[in-house]
Symmetry: C2
Subunit: 168 residues, 2 copies
DNA sequence: TATTGTTATACTCTATAACTATA
DNA sequence: TATAGTTATAGAGTATAACAATA
């Protein structure tokens, strides 16, 4: 019994798919990442740049190898990322005196200023993304998300978007 | 007064960066998407395939052009995606009798079975992702996320990962 | 010989544009 | 002439592997 070709009276697509929290997390997460990318894009940066700037600010003098390790990316990719930041005058490579194979990474003064602008953009982003929630709800949400992140073994402050290598 | 090169007594990287809910959403969202990709990968699918299968199941007979419109991607990309699904025997292209330029898209019997397996994988994924929360907390989280999704104008069931075209 | 950083190469993904067949 | 789908081409992004400098 094959159904004859009935014309579809349904107009626009109804809710097609999943309704669970996992899907909402992935959907909102991708949306949040895209909106954040727009904001930092106005500062001439891509999201990956932001993570690197923060890591270098937190631990100045790290080697590129160490950064690659922490981010879970291949060292050659760090070369490209740092090239970009150095080209914009935000980061400096300094040959290590102790081991001249290493490059110690440091923010320039402009790098520090840019990182401040990024922080302001991030605050505005947060506020826009959570516009639907009042302060109490926001705090509740943060608590639930923090539990998930911890239980899932996510490294605080490191976005998984870096690692395109096998996760384990 | 320039600071002399002090050795860093800090060992492993401390929490470098952001702590807000927006970052947690992006971080957990990317993590969730990656874990889901692993699960459907065991069924021979990529996440984009899953969205297409669901859309075709919901509205059989749609044209590729209509799908491209809804997903926010260029029509040529739909060709590639459907090629993959048709090659795996999950989807059928049928020339429309009314307008022979159109391809009506339908799931095969195996496509329907595969979609069932995807649903089971999605349920397992949801459970694993939210392992840190009890049922009441999960429900509360879903409510908060649904509010955000609605306020941000996200289309229910459509993951933003499809559209690489300008968002507006 | 091992390690840091760099460069060269290849591969994947996707959008743009040209093309065909239908209308 | 316009539209649905396809194919061809080109560009961006990134991993792999070869390489140079230093240890």
């Amino acid at each position: 019994m094959d159904t004859p070709p009935q014309p579809h009276t349904t107009g626009p697509a109804p809710a097609p798919g999943p309704r669970g929290a996992a899907f909402l997390l992935a959907q909102i997460g991708a949306h949040a990442a895209a909106r954040f990318a727009e904001r930092v894009g106005q500062l001439g940066l891509v999201p990956a740049d932001v993570g690197l700037l923060r890591m270098i600010a937190t631990q100045p003098g790290r080697s590129q190898r160490a950064l690659a390790e922490d981010l879970g990316v291949v060292p050659s990719r760090v070369v490209t990322l740092i090239d970009h930041l150095e080209g914009k005058g935000l980061v400096e490579r300094r040959r290590s005196a102790a081991d001249r194979r290493n490059h110690e990474l440091h923010l320039t003064a402009e790098g520090t200023r840019t990182l401040g602008a990024v922080s302001r953009a991030a605050a505005a982003h947060e506020d826009a993304l959570l516009a639907a929630l009042d302060p109490e709800q926001r705090s509740h949400l943060s608590g639930l998300l923090a539990r998930i992140a911890t239980e899932q073994g996510l490294t605080p402050g490191v976005h998984p978007g870096y690692r395109n290598r096998a996760p384990a």
